[in-house]
């Protein structure tokens, strides 16, 4: 066990002396969180909207002014008829138009119910989904406002009737009520950070010893396999957890991201997750001879893992077969757990199954890696 201390000391010295490594450890989290979280947003503002007000009532004017005040919509020149509005839609001069029918105000007061019609350009399905969701939200607020001002019943009196052309629009699922996409992205980006540290740096570090030939020197020493492996992987396990802490701090400072659940669960899961990822890094290092090879293989797996992780595309929306593949993707579980714990405040019992799966991954990957790692070539 004493030998591990010497390996650790050496590893940390080398990591902190490596001019390529320090920027990766400290700059990568900042870049990923500050740039990627903002760039990878599906949050859409300034949706170009045309309103056909056929009612010209106090209520309809109030609704138009609400749309005008919303940061999500950019009110365009009003059209006189639907043909004109449709032409604008075709020419991409607007993203959607809304028809406020005659008798809108009358119906609302008398019948306690009125309809408006939304027509949305749904070529970009997710954008259309968002536009519809934003408008529905705006209507809901309008309802509450009118209810308090005019003593109308506030429940379900104004419903939108969306009529998307030819392409069906499915709304995305929201994990937070203010439609803040960053809350959804940031936990996933934190996972990416930890994964990259684990998979890239660990495999490259071991392969580097192969490249410079020092691994042979180590293999003729009485060092034990487990001592070597622990000495090599523990630094990256610690750096991975440090990275997560740094990322969470940045996310809290810059995005005020909610951390509803327990940090102990997040870090506990990250600890096990890192074991799995480091095991994978070790496994990659046993089958590659150069840092380039190991980078390439790590990258190959990471791209698949990230695309099938539910970070950008909800897993529920994937085809059945792809969903089945995601079951073998460790990244998927970590993203699930961080989102559940951070945003929903899930307790341990809610993520127990993910813990079990991740422990299994960690065990299998490390077992394979240790079996493959040999001091003596056969």
């Amino acid at each position: 066990m004493r030998k591990i201390r010497f390996i650790l000391e050496k590893e940390f010295r080398q990591i902190f002396r490596n001019r390529g490594m320090l920027p990766i450890i400290f700059v990568m989290p900042i870049v990923q969180l500050l740039i990627l979280a903002n760039a990878a947003t599906f949050d859409i503002k300034n949706i170009k909207i045309i309103i056909l007000d056929q009612d010209h009532s106090t209520f309809s004017k109030r609704l138009v002014s609400n749309v005008n005040a919303s940061p999500y919509f950019a009110l365009q020149e009003p059209s006189d008829n639907t043909e004109q509005a449709e032409a604008a839609l075709k020419e991409e001069k607007s993203d959607m138009y809304v028809v406020i029918p005659p008798d809108f105000e009358k119906d609302l007061i008398k019948e306690q119910n009125a309809d408006v019609q939304m027509i949305i350009n749904a070529i970009d399905g997710s954008k259309a989904g968002l536009a519809s969701a934003y408008f529905a939200n705006l209507l809901a607020n309008f309802n509450v406002e009118m209810a308090s001002s005019y003593g109308l019943k506030s429940n379900a009196m104004l419903t939108s009737n969306s009529n998307s052309k030819s392409i069906a629009v499915t709304n995305s699922n929201w994990y937070n009520q203010f439609l803040n996409y960053k809350f959804y992205m940031v936990p996933g980006i934190l996972v990416l950070l930890v994964t990259m540290i684990g998979a890239f740096l660990s495999s490259m570090n071991i392969v580097r010893e192969k490249e410079i030939g020092t691994i042979e020197q180590l293999n003729v020493t009485p060092i034990k396999n487990y001592e070597f492996i622990i000495g090599k992987l523990l630094p990256f396990w610690l750096i991975g957890l440090f990275e997560l802490g740094l990322g969470l701090t940045l996310a809290k400072i810059f995005y005020s991201i909610p951390i509803e659940g327990s940090l102990v669960i997040i870090f506990g899961f990250a600890g096990i997750y890192l074991l799995a990822v480091l095991g994978m890094g070790l496994l990659i290092s046993t089958i590659t001879e150069t840092q380039q090879q190991s980078m390439f293989i790590s990258w190959f797996f990471l791209v698949i893992f990230i695309l099938l992780s539910g970070l950008f595309t909800a897993i529920e929306n994937m085809p059945e077969w792809a969903q089945r593949i995601t079951l073998f993707n460790p990244v998927r579980y970590f993203i699930e757990v961080t989102r559940m714990v951070m945003l929903k405040g899930a307790g341990f019992s809610a993520v127990k199954s993910q813990f079990v799966v991740m422990l299994t991954f960690a065990f299998c990957l490390n077992l394979l890696a240790i079996l493959r790692y040999r001091k003596t070539a056969s």
């Binding site: 201390r5 002396r17 030939g213 042979e216 020493t221 009485p222």
Partner: protein, 247 residues
Amino acid sequence: MNNSENRPAVKVNKLTRQFGDFYAVKEITFEVNKGEIFGFLGANGAGKSTAMRMLTGLLAPSSGEATVAGYDVYKEAEKIKKNIGYMSQRFSLYEDLTVLENIKFYGGIYGLSNQQIKQKSEELVEKLNLHEVSKSLLSGLPLGWKQKLAFSVALLHDPEIIFLDEPTGGVDPVTRRQFWKLIYEASDSGITVFVTTHYMDEAEYCNRISMMVAGEIAALGSPNELKKQYGVDSMDEVFVKIARPSN
């Protein structure tokens, strides 16, 4: 410990290593006596390194027997590793660590106590005259210094045998001479030296040498015996006669 005084340091009997149908090393048999400087010569690809890798536990033999420091290469590889030092043709210290850090690391993984590491570090710095660079990164030192340091580091744990795989590749004649002085010192203190080399003048420094050709030992004896046997004046000519018999 296996401390019978009469036991050879290395005993090899019909040791073989196959890669598919190719015999890298074919049924070699020899003994290395304690305290001897034993040279392993041969052209590139003759099987020198493969043989050495089997003796140091880096490569599993296909068949045959071998004991190193009295331990069996198949069953007691870990015990062998405690009792041998190794320095390979590829430079084996860490360039991004300082002289003292390298010594500390290798001392540590050979299980030396902190006290021993400290003492050995001082001795080494003194002996190799590295006072001024003891805290510099190795990457800044000349190759000759690094190789002398690597040799000394391989002896940190007082091994019974030291294996040197082309230790003087790429250094100037003066440094090579200094290097061989270190080898003689080690040999004088009772350490068995097993060395592979390309340089025929170095072969003259060895007590006994074996010449490998195509995986087999073609000649074995002291430099003088070999020169007499082949009726030539230098090891160079011996080498040419054995390694390129068609010439």
